[in-house]
Structures are given as C-alpha cells and as structure tokens.
Homo-oligomer: 189 residues x 2
DNA sequence: TCATTAATTGACCAATGGTCAGTAAAAAAT
DNA sequence: ATTTTTTACTGACCATTGGTCAATTAATGA
C-alpha cells in the first residue's frame, strides 16, 4: 500500500496526459485533484508529490501547449504569400488558436485565480511580443504600436466571446472571424 | 436565538448593500457567504432565507446595477451633439462603464460558473440590443450588423483586458480607450 | 545485508456552499 | 386575550474541495 512497482510508477507525463482531457473538457474550476487521481488509479495525495498544487499542474499543461500559438504565427510568416495575406493569416490564426483551445485561452488571458495568476505573467506577454513584432515586421512604420495593441485587443474580444460559447466550433464561426479580420484591416490603413 | 426584533430584520436590500462592497472589492469567487453574514451580524444560514444561493444574490446585485449601462447609452443618444460625436460617445461610454465596474462586467460577460450562467442570458443580450440599435439608428445602413458585432467584440476585448488589471483606473487608460475608439471608427467607413 | 532514498497512501485539516429541524417573534384568527 | 399560523433566523450538520504529512514500502546503493 505504498510505493508501486517501478514499471507502473506515476510520472508527470502520465498525469498531464490524463489531466489534459479533463481540463479541456470541463475547465479548470470543475476538475478536481481527486478526479484526476481516480482516473489514474492513484490516491489524490500522490499528485502533490509531482506537482506543488493544482495551479502548477495546470500551468505545466497550458504552458506547454501554448508554444503552439507561437509556432502557428511563425508558420504564417514563413509561408510564400504576399504581405497582406500574411497579415490576414496572423490575425485569423490568432483567432483560430483561441477558439480551438478555449480553456487554455481562458486561463492564459483572463483567469485571475490567485494561485494561477502568480505563475504565468510571461507567456501572455511573450505571445503578445511575437504578435506585435510580426505585424511590425510586415507593415513597417505604417502601423503604430497603439494600432497593434488595438488589433490585439479586438481579436482578443472575439476569442473571449466565443470561448464563452464553446458549443460553437471554429468551423461554425469561421465566416464571422473572416469578417472581423476584414473589419480590423480596414482600420490599419 | 431565532427571529430578531422587527426593526432590525434582515432585508434583501441590507444584504445587497453589504455584499456589493465585498464583491466589488474582491470579486465573486473570493467572497464567501459567511463573510457577508458576519459583516451583517447574522448567521450565514439567514442569507439563504432571502436568496436561493450565492449566484442569485450576486445576480440581483449585478442585474440592478447593469441598468446603468443602458442609461449611459441613452444619455449619449439624447445629448445635443452631432452624429459622429454620438457614435464616439457610445463606444467610449461602453468602455468606461466596463472599466469602472470590472467585477460586474466580468460576471455579466465572461463568467461561466454553472450556478450563475444559467440565471442571466437576458441582460447581456439586452445590453447588446441597446448598443446595436443605437448604432443602427445613428449610422443607418452605412454599418452592417456584422460591423456592429465586430465593433462590440472589439470594445469587449478592450474592457476584458483591463478588467484583468483592475489596478488601472479609467483615468489611467482613458487615452488608450480614445485611441482604440478612433481605430475602430476608421473601420466603420 | 542493511541503510537510505523515492514514491505512494490515506487519515486528517480548514474552508466552502448549502440544507434543515428547531425556535421564537410577529401577525392573523378565534 | 388567547390560540394558531406564519415568518425570520440559528447553528449543527453534510459533502466536497485543495492541501498536508506521518507512515509505509519498493527500489537503490554501500
């Protein structure tokens, strides 16, 4: 009733793998440590051997997955298309990512539970840096930092809204996302 | 140890008055029913005589206060200024309201705790209707429903972001709000 | 073979939202 | 004036939660 055989030892990876589905499905607040542990076949205490607390567990997950957004933005930049298409691709790519990962997005950008918020300040900032420098590179001085900030907040608004209605898939809202991006690009001139 | 003298009876109003300060200060999650009751000098059970649960209590508060936003929009419409100034006033008024009532705004538009979310679907919709019809009245067919929706989401993004940083007052971000509104109005043409 | 370390358990803690039988004041009915 | 009924409130109680920690046992190293 204590340590298990080495080939069935718990690892951070195993925990994250199980926890990911739960968090994606139900959101941070509704997943309990006991729930995760039960699904793994361990006691909930064991989770605290691998992660300091619930926040850190979730942070590990999201932080890892969030690299994807940066990659997405890079991919667009490296595509062989004209500048305007790249700008559009970045704006749309941002929205697509947010809507495909609503729970992650929510935590990254708008949760403020104390135990979590303390952990990541960096990731959202890094993501924004990436976003801003990409647009700056593409558009030069035509767009001011304030315009980039407005663009970001406007995309953010779109994503946040549809994060609250996760029954709608990205495919469902793709048309609206494109309209929104068109609208925003008009303001860039 | 049961009912108190009639002149010191608990009322919904007394509860809301006390709860308002707490909620505004600390946000929904961090306020406990026991905390509210203690401040009032009653047992926490008594709160459940007046409100079905924590969600309903909070809902009463926010729902009441939220009429203010609609009034704000009406006030702008009735001002003796030209159309463009009115449009600007509405967009800016929306932002100002959100940032001056960050906890209310958060609950209305982006919380999705089950006990709450079930209660109010109407208020956010009503507010949006107000917003949309105001813009439609002012701008006629120049602005499509989709543009109005984009405008709304873009304002929403601004508010949501600064709701997460309540250490900044509206005065602090006023300049940025105005830039943001200017940016959005460019997209309306 | 024995001491040390690593991994796991599960009883335990304090806090939470919520329920409810009991109680006493107030109001209504007699 | 007395009894009945209704109303407002209490506080013990419940299940659930995130989290802690001494005890336990497998693995590892000397």
């Amino acid at each position: 009733m204590a340590r298990k055989a080495v080939d069935q030892e718990l690892t951070k990876e195993k925990i994250l793998e199980t926890a990911r589905d739960l968090f994606v499905l139900e959101g941070y607040q509704h997943v309990t440590m006991r729930q995760i542990a039960k699904l793994l076949g361990y006691s909930h205490g064991s989770l605290y051997y691998h992660f300091r607390n619930k926040g850190e567990l979730f942070y590990s997950l999201v932080s890892k997955d969030f690299g994807l957004l940066n990659e997405t933005l890079d991919d667009v930049l490296n595509k062989d298309i004209d500048t305007e298409a790249k700008v559009k691709g970045i704006l749309l790519g941002y929205i697509e990512f947010g809507i495909r990962h609503p729970n992650h997005y929510r935590i990254m950008f708008l949760m403020q539970d104390d135990d979590l918020h303390s952990d990541f300040q960096q990731e959202p900032n890094l993501t924004y840096e990436k976003f801003a420098s990409a647009l700056h590179t593409l558009c030069g001085n035509k767009v001011t930092p304030m315009i980039i900030w407005s663009l970001f907040l406007s995309l953010h608004g779109f994503v946040v809204h549809y994060c609250g209605h996760p029954e709608q898939t990205y495919e469902d809202v793709k048309g609206m996302a494109e309209s929104h991006v068109s609208f925003l690009m008009k303001g860039m001139q």
